[in-house]
């Protein structure tokens, strides 16, 4: 079976290999025949907007090969819908890379969620390799670049949180998005009604909305929290960046963007601006180009420079 062409797959054709996840809106099952793929089933298929899910599948299917490979390496994207009786009941996605998982002390495998990057490590999850100095910046940059790409493709993420972003520093810093069926094509309804994860909402966004600007706010939240190793800090508060993460230029740029992110809805820094801040390049200030002064007109060279008379259009007044 292949999910690559995006064609709907009948539920009856799947052979399940066990439930591996249970969330509010559905369950995730392994597939017996295709170990690299997972099936997410919706708990309430009658509430699913099948067209919205098809639109997400189409985004993936119509990407140029190299961009599709970029996305597949970084997101558990809906590859194709799973249908039953003419209704979308779920979708297939790739399993998160093994580098994004860790072993609990009793041997269970868990996903390396963003929450483990935002706190001082504890004994219970000490097997997760923590970032070396500078790698928090690389992780934030990887996330910002991924979100920037999604925005460029006309997508809105909606919920961005400690639970739907995975990360690793082995072998190199990388991030991976989960719950991508919560994303939407800008201006369309989501597959299912989405709520923000507590502590990850945009306080200034209209209630229940998901927009490019609220995504930008959440990118600022995630970036600040990653750099500060603080699960609850937010734009508007002091940002205490972990020492050794940013050079002076990066730090100044990040602080400026973080302050800007606390501003009015609609004015948050774009993902491209975050990328520039995290890369730490100098910004070249462009002055508006001034038009060259016009040369004086040499009327002699113009055809129209003739001494023309006027044609009276009304008969001269009769005395």
């Amino acid at each position: 079976m292949t999910a690559d062409d995006g064609t709907d797959v009948p539920l009856s054709s799947l052979s399940f290999g066990g439930k591996i996840g249970d969330g509010g809106q559905g369950e995730v099952h392994a597939l017996r025949d295709v170990p690299g793929l997972l099936y997410k089933s919706y708990r309430a298929p009658h509430e699913v907007d099948g067209q919205a899910l098809a639109a997400l599948v189409a985004v993936h299917r119509t990407l140029p090969p190299e961009e599709r490979a970029y996305l597949d390496a970084r997101a558990a994207w809906p590859l194709c819908r799973v249908v039953d009786g003419g209704r979308a009941v779920g979708f297939l996605m790739y399993r998160a890379p093994a580098a994004m998982t860790w072993q609990t002390p009793n041997g269970a495998t868990k996903l390396t969620e963003l929450q483990f990057l935002l706190r001082e490590p504890k004994a219970s999850w000490q097997s997760i390799a923590q970032p070396a100095p500078g790698q928090r910046r690389e992780l934030a940059l990887a996330l910002v670049e991924l979100l920037e790409r999604l925005h460029r493709w006309g997508l809105v993420l909606g919920d961005v949180s400690q639970a739907n972003i995975l990360w690793t520093v082995r072998p190199a810093p990388a991030v991976h998005l989960l719950d991508c069926d919560g994303f939407r094509v800008a201006g369309r309804s989501p597959v299912l009604a989405q709520a923000d994860t507590p502590d990850w909402g945009d306080p200034l966004a209209p209630v229940g909305s998901a927009t490019v600007d609220s995504d930008r706010y959440k990118a600022a939240l995630a970036t600040g929290r990653i750099l500060a190793q603080d699960a609850y800090t937010a734009p508007g508060r002091q940002l205490d960046v972990v020492p050794g993460e940013l050079d002076d230029r990066q730090e100044a740029a990040v602080r400026a963007r973080y302050t800007q992110a606390a501003g009015a809805y609609g004015t948050r820094p774009t993902l491209a601006e975050w990328r520039t801040a995290l890369v730490g390049r100098d910004v070249i200030r462009l002055t508006a180009a001034e038009p060259a002064p016009r040369p004086p007109v040499n009327r002699a060279v113009l055809d129209s420079a003739r001494d023309r008379g006027t044609i009276p259009l009304r008969p001269p007044p009769q005395d």
Binding site: K110, F116, K122
Partner: protein, 221 residues
Amino acid sequence: MQILPFYLVCDESGSMGGAPIEAINKALPELHQEISTNPTVADKTRFALIGFSDDAQVLQPLADLSELNTLPALAAGGVTSYGQAFRVLKACIETDVGDLKAEGHEVYRPVAFFLSDGVPTDGQWEEALRELTESRYCPKIIAFGIGEADTATISQVANFRAFMQQDSAISPAAALREFAASLTRSIVRSASSISADGSGDFTLAVDDKVPGFETVTLDKL
């Protein structure tokens, strides 16, 4: 930080000896594992363990589960003094809520999972229950009855939800594993609706149905 305290108030009378008490003791590390490997949940919840028989004892004072390396085991012996359980729970909650507030936290109404396998052997338990439920920080009580527990008594103890073991369907030990799993789910799901600053709606997410148990209508006296 907004904190939701959970209390496991567990019968360790003589009749709980053997498989039932072992089932709980085996389930506690799983509860610990689940919470301590989910730091967002650990941040927002606290857990305490109270065992009761002739007397009641705070075996594990209220703590962030992810900070603990060991938990005292339950050990069976003695009779079933519900009254002592309620008195100790009430005192414990009063101290804990005060301590959490002093640390700068805001505290949601505590949640108590009460488990018993028998009928109360003390005469004054109803008065102790009344004092608990009329107290300022009265917890939401979810009561589970297994073995010889009495349905009417369990539903009287509960003020949020009550469950009785389905005798024929499941052994007490198996029922207790389901009980512990339900407790874990309640903590994880409830914590996932708590925001650090208390904004938004918090929902106490306790199972409506627990495998091996029958949901009991609460006594509205």
